[in-house]
């Protein structure tokens, strides 16, 4: 066998192993009522055949659509906020100033904190007797029960996400900003462009690709949001902060309705693939 093929073989095997087998298994299970508690090993899941019942259940799954809506809400709030904050910070870091390297090293720290640990940090911060309320109480005594209020819990979760992932935007966008040719910015200045005009006509168009990449990466990750959120709220109170991943986790480990989970997983995979194809085509243009 050729060396090139031999070199790529292990990776190909792993990719097949994680895509083809699971897909086939999922397809099989998704057509049954099988669960780990069924008393039969999974190869015998056909004994619990229920044809397409799992799929027809999806449209009526209110908890699913609520979770999806919440996931999208987190996405459309957090990603733009992170983008704007990251861009603002990036613009501050284009010019040199004393202590820049140290400030940079500190500012990118949050994204390297283990997400579960970050979740725990914010769990502590948002305790009713915790530092957030303590800081807010300069305006008067505050005892907000952040994590047990449905909407405030979601806010707290988003704050944690923004804290952890703004540095990523900052890091990527700064790399892009630094790459904008200085001479072009100076030329624009000498032609009378204001800072805002320079930003709009030179910086932004030059950063288009980078901005797209940064937004895409963050949007994908935000869609999968689990660790911080689950540690902070466990999806609660009730189901108030349940996102797609949390919902999946719960019906997998608590409800154990694996046939339905498999159907749902396939549904999500197919939807995401279509969305990705669509997005790629638009990006290519």
């Amino acid at each position: 066998m050729k060396l090139g093929l031999r070199l790529t073989l292990p990776a190909q095997v792993l990719v097949l192993f994680i895509s083809v087998f699971p897909l086939l298994m999922q397809l099989y299970i998704s057509l049954t009522d099988w669960s780990p508690l069924s008393g039969a090993p999974w190869p015998r899941a056909w004994e619990f055949w229920n044809s397409f019942a799992n799929y027809t259940d999806i449209p009526g799954d209110r908890r699913l659509w609520a979770a999806l809506g919440r996931t999208l809400l987190v996405m459309v709030i957090c990603v733009p906020v992170e983008f704007l904050l990251g861009l603002g910070l990036g613009l501050l870091f284009v010019e040199d100033f004393p202590g820049k390297k140290l400030a940079y090293s500190i500012l990118i720290m949050p994204m390297m904190v283990v997400p579960a640990v970050a979740g725990y940090m914010f769990f502590m911060l948002f305790q009713s007797g915790g530092p957030v309320n303590d800081l807010l109480s300069v305006f008067g005594p505050v005892t907000i029960a952040w994590l047990s209020d449905p909407w405030l819990a979601l806010v707290a979760v988003m704050v944690a996400d923004i804290w952890q992932w703004t540095p990523l935007m900052f890091l990527i966008l700064l790399a892009g900003l630094v790459g904008v040719p200085q001479d072009q910015l100076r030329a624009a200045t000498l032609l009378g462009a204001s800072p805002w005009q320079r930003f709009r006509t030179i910086t932004l168009p030059r950063m288009k690709v980078i901005i797209t990449i940064a937004l895409a990466i963050r949007a994908i990750e935000a869609f999968k949001i689990f660790d911080t959120l689950y540690i902070m709220t466990g999806g609660g109170p009730g189901v108030a902060t349940e996102t797609i991943s949390v919902y999946f986790y719960k019906i997998t480990t608590n409800d154990l309705i694996w046939g339905y989970v498999a159907a749902l997983a396939l549904f999500i995979l197919v939807s995401l693939s279509i969305a990705a194809q669509f997005a790629m085509k638009r990006m290519a243009r």
Binding site: P181, D183, Q184, R186, A187, A188, T189, L190, L191, G192, A193, S194, Q197, T201, I202, P205, R206
Partner: protein, 341 residues
């Protein structure tokens, strides 16, 4: 059109002095070349005129207006960058009318006129990426010129251009300047560009202004040994010697080479005796004698090495071998510190 006055202009970067206090008048409508080797302070000077760098000391006046507090966006200076800094994500038209659009002025008629003037009309809606370098140069100049700046600054615009193409670009640049009639400051390390295009040349070295004058003045009457050596290819011959007074004239004892013909003016002690390679004539009767060590024949000219001295003759000249006598024309004398006597 505006005159530029530099008064005691100084620039230091930390402990390093990039520009010693410099006084220079750039006349209204003049094409002045700032000429010098890299690191001589010429670009720093121009960046300060444009407002891209802040002077450490001294003043810059446009006409009678002090530019100290005027930011670069409002100096009304046209600037052509070494790499032209074309906005490659825009079309030719978008580049050309950029300044007008930013100022909120209707770009239509002025853009068309400028494109016509520069021969860019057919290219207006082409993307500016991938255009040839002479078109980029025209575009860079047009983009600034459309704002009708009083002053035009050009930062080595030909240094990235193929040698073969430079002559074309020089001619084009000079004719553009004649059309616009603006005050132009042109930074270059290439003496040929300075000599062919400039009205006056300011020669700089190590952050010090060495001499200002017309191309012929700085060529024929260099203020010091640096200018003498820097201009001309090859540069001026400079021989160390000893001045000997003879009546009202001076002769220079060049040691083994001989005693020079008399020159006007008083001088004494150690001096440097300089003369252009082009001004050397072979003359068996001359008191100055050196052996021919090497002959370079390069097309229309031949360069004859007489030990430390270089002489330039037309291509067909018969060069004798062995020790020859020679007479330097238009000699210059420099004192021990290199200044002209």
């Amino acid at each position: 059109m505006t005159a530029i006055h530099l008064q005691g202009l100084t620039k230091r970067f930390g402990p390093f002095t990039a520009l010693q206090p410099m006084d220079l008048e750039i006349r209204d409508g003049e094409f002045l070349a700032l000429l010098g080797p890299s690191g001589c302070g010429k670009s720093t000077t121009m960046n300060m005129i444009a407002g891209m760098e802040k002077p450490t000391g001294g003043r810059i006046l446009f006409g009678d207006r002090d530019m100290g507090a005027v930011p670069m966006a409002r100096r009304g200076v046209g600037f052509v960058f070494q790499n032209y800094a074309i906005f490659t994500h825009m079309t030719v038209r978008q580049n050309l009318d950029y300044g007008l659009r930013m100022a909120g002025v209707d770009p239509g008629p002025r853009t068309a006129a400028m494109a016509e003037l520069l021969g860019l009309t057919d290219l207006l809606d082409r993307p500016s990426q991938g255009l040839s370098v002479n078109i980029l140069q025209r575009l860079a100049i047009g983009r600034s010129a459309i704002m009708e700046p009083a002053i035009f600054l050009l930062d080595e615009p030909l240094s990235n251009v193929d040698a073969a193409f430079r002559a074309v670009m020089r001619t084009e640049l000079k004719s553009l300047q004649r059309q616009f009639r603006q005050t132009m400051v042109y930074v270059t390390h290439d003496q040929l560009e300075a000599m062919t295009m400039a009205d006056r040349i300011a020669v700089m070295d190590h952050g010090v202004l060495q001499q200002v004058g017309t191309p012929l003045q700085v060529y024929n009457r260099p203020a010091n040994t640096f200018v003498a050596r820097f201009l001309g290819a090859p540069g001026m011959n400079l021989l160390p010697g000893h001045a000997v007074q003879s009546g009202s004239a001076v002769q220079v004892d060049l040691g083994p080479i001989g005693l020079t013909p008399p020159l006007p003016g008083p001088a004494s002690g150690p001096v440097t005796y300089g003369f252009r390679p082009e001004e050397v004539t072979l003359d068996p009767a001359s008191p100055l004698k050196l052996p021919v060590t090497h002959v370079e024949r390069i097309g229309a000219r031949c360069i004859v090495h007489l030990g430390p001295v270089k002489a330039v003759f037309p291509a067909g000249t018969e060069i004798p071998s062995g020790v020859v006598g020679f007479t330097p024309g238009k000699p210059c004398l420099f004192d021990a510190k290199g200044g002209r006597i």
